[in-house]
Subunit: 386 residues, 2 copies
């Protein structure tokens, strides 16, 4: 028996038919888009366009031209952060950010970009009022994750977006943990850009991701990556029109064909249903863990205000050893450590030892959760791994 | 009948089993690497390592740690160009470069980076002695394509590498059109970095590419993209060790599994055999075209010093119309226009009208070439498309 509980890293299995859609593209279509005059190149282009449309539907966004594909959300965040923030600018982040945000920002500090980190409480919750306290004369943007990849706590982005609107700040959203699971409305959130990944909640293949961008930002920021776009080829300058401006080079078309299939599946099932199934599993898991001794939950202990990502701290036992035994002896795949989010772990009080993270997809079952709880219970009773 | 002759854009078909390898990864493995403690994560990591090894073998390179994967070679060139060249630096390029080089450089001009363009002759040939004429006090690097994506002319990179060594310049190579077809030796070329794409001569899926990097450069340049690497997670700074330094975020693992399969195939077949087959087709094609009136070859008219990429200029006829008719009436897929390389077309005397490009893979056949020649002949006799 193999039980996959590392869905916050990448979901498995993917939506039905994703592998087949990718294979079929590679075997039967294979061509490039935006470059050939032949008919199959146009038909591949249509699938890419449909994928942009489905991304628009997902985020209640209006403009397919402003849907940009990248290799992953880390690239997306770098594209946004590094082109929006310039020398002398200040931005605000939460203390729950992933290193996909913190590492680019740390690098930019050398280029005289400043950031302030709004402290969340020990459950990872952020008070929107705290944003205002950190606004300075040179604050240009708020950059924030929608939910913690460590403990699943959802940040109040709709309220924070309102603050950004009132204070005339750009609002850049990292939806890595919520796209395909939570309702995300570009307009209601007052977002200027939302970065997404294709291989987590969207159930598509790794190698896909992107961002959506406001009209204003699409016109004012440069592209971090320049090159051939198959358009305006007489010019040695990056075109200014979207999405070409941000999509030089050959796209990951097999990946986009897979993402296309996945997004279709999600729209058929409905993200509310997916979320409810995941939270039902998380609820069962949280209740089971609450009854166990010497195990603490990092973050919220009920399903209110969270995604189905649960981090456990085994206290006196070595978390790495617990994760290893879960795999070796029980076939349960988890992820231990700091989850590329040291700031989040500091906030939750689990730094530097980290946690064992269990993250559910709607493909997990009640039976699997029961088995995992039993396995945790058995391991917690073992001696010699303290 | 569908005949694909746009292999310089992306090869089709891919190596046998590439689609299946990608699908099998998505359906059966699916996990992330460098992040999970569970055993399948390690086994996926092994395939990635083997792929790095095969890239090393391809370029006679010694260090798997310094093989970096990206989404495409445009990203690779941006990573290299933008982190190597800083304000006040000067670099030298040929007049045959693709916009994957020219557009990043044009962008950097705003940041006070300068470049000189060494003029090639009307066949796209570069005289290595001309490099020296452009060296200035602040010249830091020579950045050059190994072969033109427009006309196939190979540039004398081994000799240019020697100039770079003598003059203490960095040598950055764009192997987009030659990897998997020409012999490329990192050491003999005195290269400091070679960028590659996975989906052209390497016969792997789109969405793959990368670069290899000298020890010295890997230590001195920063990464254009920062973020979680699954390593050193307690730190908010990008790790300094390779390849993690340049590979933040989730890799395109399905793509790398496909590239792995493709590289295995290439090493079995041998690139010399692939090259000979391609050049034999190109030779047949060139000879056929030479006999036709009102059609000129942009670049070299024999197979000496070139790859199997042939650009034709139909003179009085509209090249776009010819390319369209080849597809519509004869099922032949070509690519017309400027091929994201305006400078190359200016050099060849085909700017701004461009050419119709025929690019062969070893999967093409003599029979196909004959059919294409007949079709060109028929179109060239038609009236009304002048």
């Amino acid at each position: 028996m193999r039980i996959y509980m590392d869905n916050a890293a990448t979901t498995f299995p993917k939506a039905p038919g994703v592998g087949e859609a990718v294979k079929s593209y590679i075997d039967n279509i294979g061509v490039n888009v935006k470059r050939g005059t032949y008919s199959t190149a146009f038909s591949a282009g249509e699938t890419v366009l449909e994928t942009r449309e489905m991304i628009c539907n997902l985020f209640n966004f209006h403009n397919t031209d402003n849907v940009v594909f990248t290799m992953n959300i880390t690239q997306s965040m770098n594209f946004l952060i590094k082109e929006i923030l310039k020398s002398g600018d200040h931005c605000i982040v939460s203390s729950m950010e992933h290193n996909a945000v913190m590492r680019p920002l740390s690098q930019l500090v050398n280029k005289k970009v400043e950031f302030s980190r709004v402290k969340c409480d020990k459950f990872g919750r952020l008070d929107p009022k705290d944003i205002k306290k950190h606004i300075k004369y040179n604050t240009r943007a708020v950059i924030m994750t929608h939910a913690s990849n460590v403990c699943g706590t959802i940040l109040p982005l709709y309220q924070i977006g309102k603050v950004c609107k009132d204070e005339n700040l750009l609002f850049i959203v990292d939806s890595a943990q919520t796209a395909g699971v939570c309702d995300i409305d570009f307009n209601d959130m007052n977002a200027d850009a939302i970065a997404f990944t294709g291989h987590k909640g969207l159930l598509g293949p790794q190698g896909t991701g992107g961002f959506i961008l406001s009209e204003k930002l699409s016109k004012t920021i440069e592209s971090l990556i320049c090159g051939g776009t198959g358009s305006d080829s007489k010019s040695e300058y990056q075109p200014e029109y979207m999405p070409d401006k941000f999509e030089p080079g050959t796209m990951n078309l097999p990946g986009i064909f897979g993402l296309h299939r996945a997004l279709k599946y999600i729209s058929e099932i409905g993200i509310e249903n997916i979320r409810n199934e995941e939270l039902s599993l998380a609820s069962r898991f949280l209740e089971g863990v609450l009854n166990m001794k010497n195990i603490s939950i990092a973050g919220l202990s009920t399903i209110q205000g969270r995604t189905a990502v649960v981090s456990l701290d085994f206290g006196k036992k070595d978390n790495g050893e617990v994760s290893y035994l879960l795999d070796k002896d029980y076939g349960i795949m988890t992820r231990c450590g700091l989850h590329c989010a040291p700031s989040a772990h500091k906030t939750l009080g689990t730094f530097p030892h980290g946690t064992v993270r269990f993250s559910f997809s709607h493909y997990n079952t009640d039976k699997e959760v029961n088995y995992v709880l039993e396995s945790i219970h058995k391991i917690s009773k073992r001696r010699g791994i303290e």
